[in-house]
Structures are given as structure tokens and as C-alpha cells.
Amino acid sequence: MLLSFDHVTKLYGPVVGVNDMSCRIGPGITGLLGANGAGKSTMMKLASGQLRVTSGSVTLGEHDAWSSAAKRCFGFSPDINSFYEEMTGREFVYAMTRLYGYTAREARERSEQALVDVGMIDRADRHIAGCSHGMRQRIKLAQALVNDPPILLLDEPMNGIDPGGRRDIGELLIAQASKGKTILVSSHILVEVEHLADSILMIARGRIVASGTLSDVRNLIDDQPFTVQLVVEPSRRMASLLLAFDEVNSVEVRGDTLTVRTRKPAQFFARVGELVMRDAIVVHKMVSLDTGADAVFGYLEQGAP
């Protein structure tokens, strides 16, 4: 099922939450990345029908996101730490399941399965008030899974979960995605979604600044500096040769190590190859320092309008 944003603008009085945003999110895991205040939560709230668009439309399949019909199509794990604290995890997930209109028996089966899926079944009888942050995250995730929705909207689902738990939840999300579900995972810790998401949406100041796979996004940034570290011999000669090229912005020399900043990585790597062949320069090591999502995001955010 497709989650579509079509020229969506959301204003909070004079403040722009989301600005003329258009995108289609299909099956698979899509990472929604952005700094605090970028518009991630607004996008999640619009998709889950908590907010109404100022202009444009948000649809889940055929349904307008604000309608109650759309709410059968998604499960939502919010970025809040509020529950019915007096309940146990099991009671809470069961109560949330009953609110879909299932019979008691069906709700019991579904809620138990969801607790198994998120790895909470053995701790489900603990009162929520006494649960750790990670356990609460799992309970939120469980209540989002109970109706087996085609779309999952997960707002910072890894927040507060230990590395083992992250791996478990990552595996769970991948398993859900393999069933053809559309999963939108927001995060401001980029490495969380970098290894999980099939595609990413990067937003800044209420606009989508990049979308696609991480490498696609990286290729979009042809005018942003790209940092490469080389361990070469002779390093000073290599530095002087590199500085002669237009695509090289700067070269820093520390012993045999060169830190090169370039605006055109593809041409740069071709030049290095030529130099190695022509001038008998020995390259011991060559590594790019900023292919991670953090660097990509940093660049994109600087370039956002």
C-alpha cells in the first residue's frame, strides 16, 4: 500500500511545519531522517491522521489520512513515553487490540503474537510504570502491530533500546517489510536507519532535501566537499600533484597520510588512478571519510532552502 504526500503544506500559525512536500512511499523500509524540528514528527502526525493538512493531501492507499477508514491501514508507534501506567504491558496491548473491534479471543491471540514478535512475551505481566525505556518502546511497537496493518509508521522506534534489542527490532522490521508492508521509520540517529532502510527520505526545514538509497543521495551532492584519506609514498609529491587539479579543494599532509577534500569524487578517483600509473606513486590505503548518513545529512541540511 502506498503512503502518498501530494504537495502537502502544514502551517502552525505563522510557522511552517511542512512546506509543499510531495513523495510516495511504497513497500519496504523507508528511513525518514532529519534533525529536530526538521518536520519529521509533523510528517508522522499527518500520515497518522492526527493533524490535518493546510493544503495538499495525504493518502494511505485510497483513504484520506484524517479519515477513520485510513486508521485501519496503519499501525503507529509514537515518539512519546505515555501509557496507561496502571496496566501491565499485556493488558495495554490487549486493550489497544480490542479498540480495533476484535472479539476478546481474537484480540487475545493478536496481542500475544505481537508481544512475541517484539520480544516482550516473558515480561508482559510487568506493570508499565515499572518498565524500562526499552521495554516501553517494545510495547509501543507491539500495539502498532496488532492489526497486521499494511503500513507501519514508527516514530523513533529504536530510541532507548540496547544494541541487542535494536538488532531484534531491525530483524522484525525487515521481516515485516518482506511481507510487502510499507514501513516508515523516523530517526535523528542516522546510523540506526542507514543499515535498515531500503530507501531514505531526508528532510530539513519542512522540505524533502533528498530521497533514494543512501548512495543515490550521496551522488546528488556533487557540489559538496567529499573527504578522502590516502596513505601514500611519496606523500609530499602526491600532494603537490593533487593540488594541481581543479576538482581538489584542499590537501592536508601528515606524514604519509593525505586528507583530501574534493567536490567531484568520481573525477578525483580517476585522477588518482592516472597518477598512480604515471608517477609510480604507491597507495597503501585509500578510504573515504564521510560516506555515512551523518555526513550526507549534514551536507544536505546546509544546502536546504
Partner: protein
Amino acid sequence: MNLWRAFVTLVMLSFRRLLWSASTLMVAFPLLGCALFLLRRRYTFGYEGAAFGDEQIAFGHFSEELVLLLFVSFIMPICALAYATTSIGGDREDRTLLFLLVRPIPRWLVVLAKLIATLPLVVGLVVGSFWIYCRLAGPVGRMAFDLYLPAVFYMTVAYVSLFHLFAVSFRHSTIIALVYSLFMEILIGSMPGIVKRVTVSFFGKSMIFEMGADHGLQPPNPQWFVPMTTRGAGMALVAISIAGVLLTLWIFSRREYRDLT
């Protein structure tokens, strides 16, 4: 998936959570205080006709002191606001409302479920405590219960409806409802002229004065307080209740609650 089942689940869930909420503890103190006052008043001075030499005088004292001053002006609005504002306002302040808004239940039905969960609780508590007080007061109390029960019932429903409207409209609805009950109702309700007709208590008191008139009950200052007929006041309270419910449903179904996340 069945909408009716989801609705009933929400009603039951809300009722259970309200019953075991801090609101129950909050209303327990004034209810108990009122009972103690009543017992002291009865056994020290007596509401029996003999103590005043006239049952009509005793009835008048009971009606003015307990029914009008304590119960209608204080106990009833406190009970109504304790539950009515918490029913949706508590979920809003705790931000658990979000879990309800992302379920496939139409918004108006969510707030209707909350209202239906609240109403029997508040009506049961108010009418039940009124019955106990009237029994504690002796024969005049029993007579007062029979006469004033419709007024108490209609007023309670009107307050529940009004405070739900507050809860969907304002973030800190409990405080606003408290200020409204203790100041606006009393202040405006005490003003001369027709301005007092914007308060719920005016219509309730009108019913009480009309029903108690045959037993000698009169407004303390008849020039300032000209009661409506019982029928007219009852209809006004029903109209307030219906308008309050409809407005509550309408506002809640359209409103964004941006403070939930």
C-alpha cells in the same frame, strides 16, 4: 473488525479507568465532609420538625443549607468536573489520547464513548450521595429527595455535558471548570436580573424553589431571584445538555490536538 465492539470496549475501558482514578479520591473528601456536616447539624440542632417547632421550617433549613448551599453549589459541580474533565482531559494531559486517535473509531464516537462512560458514574455518585444525605437528615430529607431528584438529575447531566465541552476545548480544563464552578456560577448566579440565566445553577435552583414552594421554600431575596417554572427550567437544562454534547462531538471531531506528541 467491528465498530460497535470497539465502541463498547472504549466505554468500558474509560469507565474502569475513571472509577479507579484519582478523581474518586478527590471527590471522596467533600462527600465525606458534607456527610459529617449533615450529621452534626442533625444531631446538634436537628432537622426534625420538633426542633424548630415546625416541619416546614426544618424543611426550609435543610433545603437552604444542604441542598442549595452545599450540594447544588459545591458537591455536584465538583463531582461532575472531577470525572467529566478527566475523562477526555486526563487522556489529553497524559498524552494517551494519541493511542485512541489512531484507532479506527470516528473521533465523535471516541468522545461519545467517554461521555457515556462518565455519565452513569457521575449521576450514580451524585444521586447516590444525595439519597444518603437525605436519609441521614430524617423525614425532611426523605421528602426533599422525592421533590428535588429531577432537579439534581438534570443539573448533573448538564454539568457533565458542559465540562466535557470544556475538556475538548481547553488544555487545562479541570482548572477552568473549577474556576467556572466556584466563581462564575456563584458570582453570576448571585447577580440581579436575567444575567444569571447563563448559569446552570439558575435553572436547577429554579426547579428546586418551584418544587419546594408548597413546603414554604422561597428564594432568600425574591426580588433578585425570580425562578422559572419547573417545566421551563427543566427544558433549559435538557437543552444545555444536548447543546453541550453536540458541541463537544463537533469540536472534538474537527480539532487537532498538537500537544499530544
